[in-house]
């Protein structure tokens, strides 16, 4: 995940956008302030962006711009979701989880049928991993435990859930703001799931 940077000038040209747009999106928090990286060049101080992230974000903005106002877009990208609350049935209806997975979740977590955003994220992650066949039910229990234990940290922006397997033994890690990770050869990385992306997917489905 090493970051290649692109200068603001090159970005405008590459993405076909204008200064007015970039400053507007900055005001609306569609582009997080951390992505504006100041570096000294021979012309003075210049602004750079993480290339992959910003190009991806601009594409998303341009696609969704037709249907959503800038403020609604900002809600989509912001990690601020304190007020979401959905019932088990609503989540099934909205295609966020399947009945089988949400039942498995409730069996082990024994929580209520009302889901706040933290629990929606947990069950959504479970759904993704179980449905894709990447993990089995036991590994699912492990994922759930990691998410529950360290739930508070997920609110930070760059969180990745990594599942590894070696000699039949699985393990699960939650990486916070990690740039890269490398395991020894015998370990297989089953999946590396960006929780930020999951949050965006959930919000897109709920909108």
């Amino acid at each position: 995940m090493s970051e290649e940077l692109i200068s603001k000038k090159d970005l405008l040209e590459l993405a076909g956008i204008s200064y007015g747009q970039i400053y507007r999106w900055k005001r609306k928090d569609l582009i997080p302030e951390e992505w504006f990286v100041r570096k000294s060049t021979f012309t003075g101080q210049e602004t750079f962006f993480p290339k992959e992230k910003i190009l991806e974000r601009i594409e998303k903005i341009q696609t969704m711009k037709e249907n959503l106002s800038l403020d609604e877009l900002a809600d989509m990208f912001s990690p601020n979701v304190a007020n979401l609350n959905y019932s088990k049935d609503q989540l099934i209806r909205r295609n966020i989880v399947s009945t089988a997975v949400v039942d498995f979740y409730l069996e082990h977590e024994k929580g209520s049928l009302d889901f706040n955003f933290t629990r929606i994220l947990e069950v959504f992650v479970l759904e993704k991993l179980l449905q894709s066949g990447e993990i089995n039910l036991d590994e699912g229990k492990m994922v759930l435990q990691v998410l529950k234990d360290h739930g508070a940290l997920i609110k930070q922006k760059s969180c990745e859930l990594v599942i590894t397997r070696k000699l039949g033994m699985s393990s699960c890690l939650l990486l916070i703001n990690a740039e890269e990770f490398h395991f020894e050869r015998g370990t297989k990385v089953v999946t590396a799931l960006s929780l930020m992306k999951c949050m965006e997917e959930i919000k897109a489905k709920l909108l």
């Binding site: 000038k9 040209e13 204008s18 200064y19 007015g20 970039i22 400053y23 507007r24 900055k26 005001r27 012309t43 003075g44 101080q45």
Partner: protein, 202 residues
Amino acid sequence: MELDCNGSGILYGNVISEKVKVNGNGRFRGNLEAQNLSIDGSARIDKNLTVEKIKISGKGMIGSRVKSEEIKIQGTFTVSEDCEAEIFIAESQFTIGGLLNADYIDIKMFGECKAKEVGGQTITVKQKGSSLVGNLLKSFYKPQLEAELIEGDKIELENTTAKIVRGNQVKIGPNCQIGLVEYTEEFLWIKRPLLLKTERFN
């Protein structure tokens, strides 16, 4: 909810209100959040100012950041950090410690104006002065807008000192000192400003 300050007042802690009016002297030691802020006199907000519509006739000093939809200033405006708005209209003197980021920026200078950086869509900076007094003063005192960087789509500058100006359509008028202009569509200069370098990108 309305907060009226007539005379002199100090508020400790954060204030959230619909309308805030300061006639006289107001000091807000924390953050101020409102839909409408009108200052006729002097107001100082120690932390962040988050108000949809700001109107200052007098003096406004903000210790942290300003986030607004519409800012109209006649007088003096000082912000320590960034100032963001959709519309920024100043007939005044101002000092912004960080970035002035607004879609529509219209500045008529009545005194030294400073911002670390200016960014937006339409940026117009003019020297105020079609009045008699203005014209008399003009010969002794030429207030400048000083910024390190000015970036926008359509930029029109007078009496501006900047290291770098970047835009699509850039017009540089009299009394400007610009280190470098980078434009993509059009570049116009009037009255030979002190300009060191221009570059076109397209």
